[in-house]
Amino acid sequence: MSHNKTTRRGLLKGGAVVGAGLAMPTFFTSQANAYTNAPSGGKVTLGFNVPQTGPYADEGADELRAYELAVEHLNGGGDGGMMNTFSSNALKGNGILGNKVAFVTGDTQTKSDAARASAKSMIEKDGAVMITGGSSSGVAIAVQGLCQEAGVIFMAGLTHSNDTTGKDKKANGFRHFFNGYMSGAALAPVLEKMYGKDRRAYHLTADYTWGWTQQESIQAATEAKGWETVNNVLTPLATTDFSSYVAPVLNSGADILVLNHYGGNMINSLTAAVQFGLRDKVVNGNNFEIVVPLYSRLMAKGAGENVKGIFGSTNWHWSLQDEGSKAFVKSFGTKYGFPPSQAAHTVYCQTLLYADACERAGTHNPCGVGEALEGFKFDGLGNGETEYRAEDHQCFKDVLVVKGKENPTSEFDVLEVVEVTPRAQVEYAPDHPMFAGGELGKCNPGA
């Protein structure tokens, strides 16, 4: 006679344990591997998290184009682009560590919660070992935090707030793009040269992390050159008509208007300022001038003729004549029919830098990759000699001061490079007050 020892209660207990195990997110159950989402089956998956809908969708589309180009080059396709000019020789065109590179995409919608949800999905469901992208600092900071918790590397896309590698820096996060402090440090000497020392500036500032740090940086840099800051007015991000913010500027005694705005905000505030005829006025014996500290070609195009002659800064521009930039523009332009934006450039670089770090580290483990990126010095990616500083995971490189072109020859020819500001001029100490308040912490491999 056989006795069946399986009881109803035992079955329920066992089922609950198995069920809980299956339901648990993958990054909590990765003890079998040393880190989250270790590649298997000869394939490594990267997660490209960009705005595919919403106001920055065009920038997101350009980022996706660059990512696809980077994947093509990493897998040995196309002409190799900047892999041919990159100072590191670790990349061989056979994927990453012999694994073919695949990718999944997510839509950030330029909303922090949506961006976190899509990044989480790419990590948990699609097995992405690295997340990259973004066209907003708020989004980048939110996703960087998620990647730190999940134990994957985050290679930031277009994010310019000081906080990304300042008070919100994370060990798993790395930024190639420049920041607000660097914009101020690069722009102020040019503005002093062009407009003189005795100037009074009025700031309109987008009311969120990027706007605050951008404004703080530009104010500090211009005041160091002798300018006075008359006022700083915070404008809600959702503002579309800036007339009521622009109208009081002339009566304030200011002779410079600094627009700490990006995207649609920048287009609309600049359009309003030009419509009000500010640039035709003479105040304090000076011609009234407008400054847009962070330029994007895609956005400048939206402002049309209003950008002509207006100074700003940018991370990269397709007209640069170094070998890396030329190779990238040729590769991108041949594939898509138009030159890449700075957003496309930075995400292409980030993808190559991640792949290169994996090759040099011999692993996809975030801690190994992070170690390979920390203090890494390289050249040939379009910005001259560059270093990923170990202390805050910020890239240090030359910064471009640009001006809206007076006589453009094509629809892409919106900005002209006025000065390539050397890296030494935009560098700051890791404990600089504008970047204080956060800890890098320890890398999290997710295991």
């Binding site: 809908t53 106001p55 008509d241 009521s244 359009t271 419509q275 035709d280 049309g304």
Partner: protein, 343 residues
């Protein structure tokens, strides 16, 4: 004082846009009883009529200039708009320069057709459905329309400048005895205000002084009785839907030099315009105009630094605050009919 006058002027042009959109919105509610959340999308489509005409006028003949190169180092393709080839450089450039005003003529038939198609194709099926259903379906339609526009034109704003003659600003201050540059106001915004006054007057005159308008007004009061007189009131209401769409579209066309159009601009105005209609009184045309200008002016004053230093963030909530106060004290809105939307 100069700041007050300046913000008053700002409020007038903001109010013009609110009033024009709200006018169409309340016209549709007054005639058809439909709460049309796709009305902001009509404003946006009007703006893109302007963009489309500009693009049509910019269709170019391409010649190769061997002496110059493009970004890839190939011989430069030089584009010359066909209007310049056909009519000469000066005339062609003038036509392109005046593309926004010309877009009014371009937009009218398009907007009338879109309004007619929207009413006949979708909205008429929701006449006898609850307002919640109407809101859902028209809001869904608005999202579809904006995504279609984004698909064709992209997400970035597209610059559509005013004619050169209207660029720059007018110094009201010197006219009123203030110092120079104290009260300046862009020419195009003055044009926009005058344009909105003309359109609003036109719609009121049409409803007031034409037989068609009188029948429509009678139908708004008592649809059944007008129908019993043998008048096809439904057909007239369909035409009024087209007129309302055209008003919103024209408001969008003329707004393009103020803010470069983007696919989302309709949504930016929709909620505010809906608040304007509710404050003015659902179905009340004079109420929509009054509330449009009143809320536009209040919003402008609320964004003054002096006000914001006392009440931070007031510029964000002023319209909704006023709406709450008015609806609490007068649920049918400023000029709404007794019993309409009072519950």
């Amino acid at each position: 004082m100069d700041q007050i006058i300046l913000q008053l002027l700002n409020g007038l042009d903001k109010g013009s846009a609110y009033a024009l959109i709200a006018l169409g919105l309340t016209l549709i509610f007054g005639t058809l009883g439909v709460v049309n959340f796709a009305h902001g999308a009509l404003f946006m489509i009007g703006a893109f009529c302007s963009v489309t005409l500009q693009k049509i006028l910019m269709i170019s003949q391409i010649t190769i200039d061997e002496s110059k190169t493009d970004f890839l180092g190939n011989a430069l393709k030089v584009k010359t708009p066909y209007v310049e080839v056909w009519f000469g450089e000066a005339t062609g450039q003038a036509i392109i320069d005046w593309s926004v005003p010309l877009a009014i003529l371009f937009a009218i038939p398009i907007m009338l057709f879109i309004g007619w198609a929207m009413e006949r194709g979708l909205i008429k099926h929701f006449y006898n459905r609850p307002h919640a259903d109407q809101i859902l379906v028209t809001f869904g339609l608005a999202i579809v329309l904006q995504e279609v526009i984004k698909q064709f034109y992209g997400a970035n704003p597209i610059p559509t400048p005013a004619p050169d003659v209207f660029k720059g600003s007018f110094d009201f201050g010197t006219m009123l005895g203030f110092e120079a540059n104290k009260i300046i106001y862009p020419f195009w915004r003055i044009v926009y205000f005058v344009f909105s006054v003309i359109i609003i007057s036109g719609v009121f005159s049409f409803l007031r002084f034409t037989t068609f308008g009188m029948v429509v007004r009678a139908g708004m009061v008592d649809r059944e009785t007008v129908g019993l007189l043998g008048i096809n009131i439904d057909k007239r209401f369909t035409i009024m839907f087209g007129v309302a769409a055209a008003v919103a579209g024209l408001a969008g066309v003329m707004y393009t030099p103020i803010n470069s159009p983007n696919y989302h601009m309709g949504m930016d105005f929709l909620v505010l315009s809906f608040v304007v209609v509710v404050v003015g009184g659902m179905g009340s045309l004079p109420g929509a105009i009054l509330a449009g200008f009143m809320l536009g002016i209040l919003e402008s004053f609320a964004s003054m630094n002096e006000i914001k230093s006392i009440l931070p963030g007031i510029d964000q909530i002023i319209i909704y605050l006023v709406a709450i106060i008015i609806l609490l004290t007068r649920p049918r809105g400023l000029m709404g009919k007794k019993g309409v939307m009072e519950d």
